[in-house]
Amino acid sequence: MNDLFAPVFEFFYYTVPFSDDLYEEGLYAFLGLCNILLSLFFSVLFYYIINRPAFSKWYHWLIILLINFGVSFTLGVVLPQTKFVALGIDYQNEYYVFGLMNALIAILFYTVISFIIRWWSTNAKQTPFPH
């Protein structure tokens, strides 16, 4: 799983030794799964649970995307930081740059999942924009 997600994360952000440590600690697999599950959750929330005409404009979709972005960014910062601090490894800006990239990957997943599942939504099948 780690090997599956590592190229994705490292395509966006690769810096030694930070990236190697992430790989070694198996955080790519964990964060990758988290991103997919979070994006799936937010997409399902928007298209099937909220699923209402009054909340089906492109900017409503964007609000959910930004929430997804915020949660993934927090996760991308907090999770490696907690792990590395416990191990006594010291990094500074890397956490925030990685958190940003993690959030970008998450919204990429959100966008892809949105376009896959939206047709089966009753009220938002054309959000964020028509076919």
Binding site: R52, P53, A54, S56, T122, N123, A124, K125, Q126, P130, H131
Partner: protein, 506 residues
């Protein structure tokens, strides 16, 4: 499908057919294709012209939707007599737009119609006994103005016309006939027994029609339900309505019910608390729609849906003639659905309410809600181009007539006000449209409380008002799928209206 020929005689006949058209548009169905035949010498009659207009619009809409099962508005077919004749492949010169003109009444005084000047002295004396000077000088072009003695002479001519023969030619075994007339006026009071006699006779222009003689015939005879303002110049005086009604009922007792010629006779009337302008005819004879006319239209539906085994004939004579009256649960100045009996409710409540919501959505919301999936996510879209097409324009025109009809029912006495609407009026007090002044659209049905679910008690959770309507439109669009734009439009809206009404009202 068998046909039901509906003869609407005079102004009341036209107004009842108008109400029937509104009921059929809302999705009420009969067991027959309806063939309205409006007989009124008053060619310019406002009521007649309004009825013909809605009938034509109904036809245009219904034809577009024929055979499309997912729509339930405009389900019942309405045809003109000439269309029926054309369909049967028969040759006839009859061209009608639902109305039938009586030859010889245009610009004619009654005196000229009967060729009074060429009568011999004895016949002139006899004529003077039967008709007053005012009767003889009466202009027939605007109707019989409450004089059945004139009406019976002139209308007798209709049963000898080519149109009547065309009707007889097209009449088939399972077809039925319904006659609408008022008992207290001129045209209807004279026309009904005459028409009935000629149909039962079975002979038209010396040709015998067995099916016609054996026809299942129903009729509604509308007793006084309005008065007219007294005017010295006018020949119409409502003081005579009751005595005319008594005289006519006495006549019917011997010649309609007494001689067992009718299968089903419906009686209806009201306390006549409303007073109309005294217009003897012409474009000004344009009375507000009345609950009595709506109820009379329901009689037609009832007659059509009555099983033949209950009201059939045996060798031209009704075996078990039925006589029915219409009533409501309790009297009130303004009635709503709660005042109606269960049978009436079952027949009209859901359908009229569904059409009402469909109607106000189109009027007030459609333009601003064309970006939702029901409108844009399918091959045939509902967009500004669709709104500019003739189908939508005809529908919008019809819907406006429906709203005016509702407004008139509310303004009249007795007032039938199922919905909480405000009336828009022109300077001469004609109702031009209705409007709603609340955003809580499910509080618009008078006397009915909006149904609530647990979601309604959690702020922001439930879909309300037009949002719920749009959600149901989106859902309905998924079920209807892709078909022609016009069919898809009506299918989506009829399904969604049905669902919102059952979700939120009854």
């Amino acid at each position: 499908m068998a046909k039901l020929y509906v003869f609407g005689i005079g102004g009341t006949g036209a107004r009842v057919v108008r109400s029937l058209t509104m009921l059929l548009a809302s999705g009420i169905k009969t067991m027959h294709d309806i063939v309205p035949i409006l007989i009124d010498p008053d060619r310019a009659g406002g009521d007649l012209n309004r009825t013909v207009k809605v009938l034509r619009e109904y036809q245009l809409i219904e034809k577009e939707l024929k055979g499309f099962e997912q729509n339930h508005f405009f389900k019942n077919s309405i045809s003109t007599l000439s269309e029926i004749i054309a369909k049967s492949g028969a040759n006839s010169n009859v061209i009608d737009g639902f109305r039938f003109e009586l030859d010889g009444v245009q610009n004619d005084r009654f005196k000229d119609f009967i060729d009074y000047s060429n009568l011999d002295p004895n016949n002139k004396w006899l004529t003077s006994l039967l008709f007053s000077e005012r009767n003889l000088d009466s202009n027939l072009e605007i109707g019989f103005k409450g004089n059945p003695n004139i009406g019976s002479v002139v209308l007798n001519q209709f049963t000898k016309s080519e149109a009547f023969q065309a009707f007889a030619d097209s009449f088939e075994k399972d077809d039925r006939i319904f006659i609408i007339s008022s008992i207290f006026g001129g045209t209807g009071a004279a026309g009904f027994p005459l028409l009935l006699k000629n149909i039962r006779n079975g002979f038209v222009k010396e040709k015998f029609y067995a099916h016609l003689q054996n026809a299942v015939i129903g009729a509604i005879t509308v007793q006084p339900y309005f008065k007219v303002k007294h005017e010295d110049e006018s020949e119409i005086d409502s003081h005579g309505f009751i005595s005319k009604t008594k005289a006519a009922l006495h006549y019917y007792f011997k010649n309609v019910t007494g001689n067992n010629t009718i299968n089903a006779l419906y009686y209806i009337g009201d306390l006549a608390e409303n007073t109309y302008e005294n217009n003897q005819g012409g474009t000004n004879q344009r009375n507000d729609a009345h609950f009595i006319e709506l109820s009379s239209a329901m009689a037609i539906v009832d007659f059509s849906n009555t099983d033949i085994s209950t009201i059939g004939n045996n060798q031209g004579k009704p075996e078990n003639p039925v006589y029915k009256e219409f009533g409501i649960k309790e009297n009130a100045e303004q009635i709503n659905f709660n005042h109606l009996t269960n049978d009436t409710l079952k027949l009209i409540r859901s359908n009229i309410t569904q059409y009402f919501y469909f109607n106000i959505f189109l009027k007030d919301e459609l333009q601003s809600k064309l970006k939702h999936p029901y409108a844009t996510a399918y091959t045939n879209k509902f967009d500004s181009n669709f709104i500019d097409q003739s189908f939508y324009k005809t529908l919008a025109e019809f819907n406006k007539s429906f709203r005016i009809w509702l407004g008139e029912l509310q303004r009249n006495k007795v007032s039938f006000a199922p919905f909480n609407i405000e009336l828009e009026k022109s300077t001469n007090e004609e109702i031009t449209d209705i409007k709603i002044t609340t955003s809580s659209i499910f509080s618009l049905v008078n006397g009915v409380r909006e149904k609530k679910s647990w979601k309604d008690y959690i702020p922001g959770l439930a879909k309300n008002n037009y949002e719920l309507f749009v959600a149901n439109l989106n859902k309905a669009a998924e079920k209807v799928g892709n078909t022609t734009t016009n069919k898809r439009f009506m299918g989506v809206f009829s399904k969604a209206s049905q669902t919102v009404v059952s979700q939120k009202l009854f």
